[in-house]
Symmetry: C2
Subunit: 393 residues, 2 copies
């Protein structure tokens, strides 16, 4: 029997285990996939390599060798050339979203986001007094023409649109990938209105099939007016609070001259130097390969369970990457009522309404990264039973 | 001969060593005072204690045991009772200043700060579009009556004062300690105008004499309308990017519910759990005792050198704590001209004008935490020669 208070110590981790409930709600990694020994080795290697410099104020933009390696990764992802002059180490995506909101927008401004979109990211904008206006999409991602209409509406209403926030690749919560055509059209629209885009790239490296995602918005835009945020939270460990920003060299220079970075130096210096060792040695590449294999097996187990147990009318697509399966509910089935029924059956999930899908569409988000395949099959079975409880009830 | 590129590897640390120059400008810790082995031991102990939980999303406010220990430290500092409900772990003071600016103020607002005050901190406010208005003080710290006049002036001019930013204890750049009487009077003024105070407490633990500083503004205000930021950057290591915020329980609850913390969890979880081990074991207490001894010796070496070598008219007070000696220049001596002369003599320092002292007063800031005592004596001798070059020239 798993000692859950050992795995999720109360007062230490964000996740709180509820006895008897398999919670496929949060987008967490299974603790068994978190490489504790590698991190210790990384810190040892960093200490041997750099000595006390690991504890000094780090250079503002982050360790140059790490920025260079990440630029190389970005070049391989996108098939275009990136250099360290395009990369800044961050204290994680949330930290940099919080910072950028203050740089790009003022209270009362509008930010355009997908319907649905990452709830806590949009919450960071709302905490800063921004109004999040939603743009719908479909299986090919956000609809750029709908985006254009929204911009026009907002401008006619006399409101300032500050920026666009998108997750084009392995979207949270839907798992969708925006098509190359849509990406190009979106950039046309954003360019015409001179609107900056924040491209949340957190799941880019969690590729679970052979299909390669299209080049990023950043790359397709030739880095103009796109700020991309990538993360070590999904491919390595969220407790690190480490990520990176990619943008044009001018944006990077402005960050280098920001008082936030001058005052504290690199936003997470010690951890950046530790992770540098894991990237430099090739360990991270191997880890990501293994992680993809483990996550693909989990995704497949969940999808097989859902196919077997969900009643007719509950629809989902198998995502090609990321952490999530988005299940669309039949008309008249309420996500909160379904969760109540599900928790009585011993399973829980994230309410689709938290991510604000277009009005009138119900959905739930299931995460396959937190649990073992057999647990996910059991979760799907319990969820299927709950769906039938509700539809029958 | 010290291999300086090994100590300050280019592209890794913020500090760039210039051959032939002893730079007493930046407020850095001497690399020989940065405890690399202890940090490695701390991570090992954290991994043994918590396993993969060190790499999961951390609980929003930071590890409860660390918050409890820091509340205990705060209670000892102030002689009043603090609990974990008053403490939030931060990603360093700069990160939280950046965040709080967005919470407390909007572009165009005024922030009141000391003349002089921490330049990059004020720069973070300016980067967010705030106007920093200065309030003068003297050896007893900021003048609360001058503060009251400034608030009145700003309000009459139709401007919103968003908050007050102060460093009452071992001030940067002056090293001064605001007297208890001034603290109480300041709280009266701030209370009358309902103005929140950010109390920068970074140097509180760097006590170099027997005199205990007065209780913090946070404590004297019984936690009403004061948010205090403390740091591990001065007493342990700046590359950690770890600090803590202390405030009333309501402010802490609001942070717990902020999307920044919900999205990413604890702002620096892995490092917080590592440092927890060092605090819990008592290691940090011993380290701070040793660090104070080392820094007092450096302060004394610098002060002795200055007394011996500075020509008449150059005045300084020996600070009771912190990292800095603030040297006031005779009328007509320009800080930038003095630095040019000093660099020709092989020493550099921070320009007083960067910290914006009241108009017409010239000063320079010397830091004694970065160099060995003998190096500081040599720096003082070179500085004295430069002063004479300039006064004679």
């Amino acid at each position: 029997m798993l000692d859950t208070t050992r795995v999720w110590p109360p007062g230490i981790t964000q996740f709180v285990h509820r006895p008897g409930i398999v919670d496929v709600g949060p987008g967490y990694l299974d603790p068994s996939l978190l490489p504790v020994d590698a991190l210790r080795d990384g810190l040892d290697a960093a200490a041997r390599t750099h000595g006390p410099a690991i504890l000094a104020y780090g250079t503002n933009l982050g360790p140059l060798p790490l920025r260079t390696l990440l630029a190389g990764l970005q070049s391989r992802w996108d098939g275009t050339a990136f250099g360290p002059e395009h990369v800044v180490i961050t204290g994680g995506t949330s930290q940099m979203l919080d910072h950028l909101t203050g740089t790009l927008a003022a209270p009362g401004d509008v930010v355009l986001a997908e319907a649905p979109s990452y709830n806590w990211g949009c919450g960071i904008f709302q905490d800063r007094g921004l109004d999040v206006v939603r743009v719908p999409g479909d299986a090919d991602g956000l609809d750029p023409n709908a985006m254009e209409r929204r911009i026009d509406e907002q401008r006619r209403a006399g409101r300032r649109v500050a920026f666009i926030y998108l997750i084009p690749t392995f979207h949270n919560p839907t798992g969708r990938v925006m098509s190359r055509e849509r990406r190009l059209r979106l950039l046309e629209v954003a360019g015409a209105y001179q609107l900056p885009i924040i491209e949340d790239n957190a799941y880019r490296d969690i590729v679970l099939d052979d299909a390669t995602p299209p080049p990023s918005l950043l790359s397709l835009a030739e880095r103009r007016h796109v700020i991309q945020l990538s993360s070590f939270s999904k491919c390595l460990a969220p407790g690190l609070r480490l990520g990176w920003l990619s943008a044009d060299a001018g944006t990077v220079e402005r960050l280098d001259a920001s008082n936030l970075l001058i005052s504290g130096g690199c936003l997470n210096h010690l951890v950046a130097l530790t992770v540098l060792q894991l990237v430099e040695s090739g360990w991270l590449d191997d880890h990501v390969t293994e992680l993809r294999r483990a996550l693909a097996a989990r995704r497949d187990a969940l999808a097989a369970g859902l196919r077997e147990h969900l009643p007719p009318g509950f629809r989902f697509a198998v995502p090609g990457g990321g952490f999530f399966v988005w299940v669309e509910l039949p008309a008249g089935v309420d996500d909160a009522a379904l969760r109540d029924a599900a928790e009585r059956r011993g399973v829980s999930f994230a309410l689709g309404s938290a991510f604000e899908p277009p009005a009138g569409t119900g959905a739930i988000r299931l995460c396959f990264s937190l649990h073992a395949p057999e647990t996910l099959r059991a979760a799907a079975e319990r969820l299927g039973a709950a769906c039938r409880d509700l539809v029958a009830g």
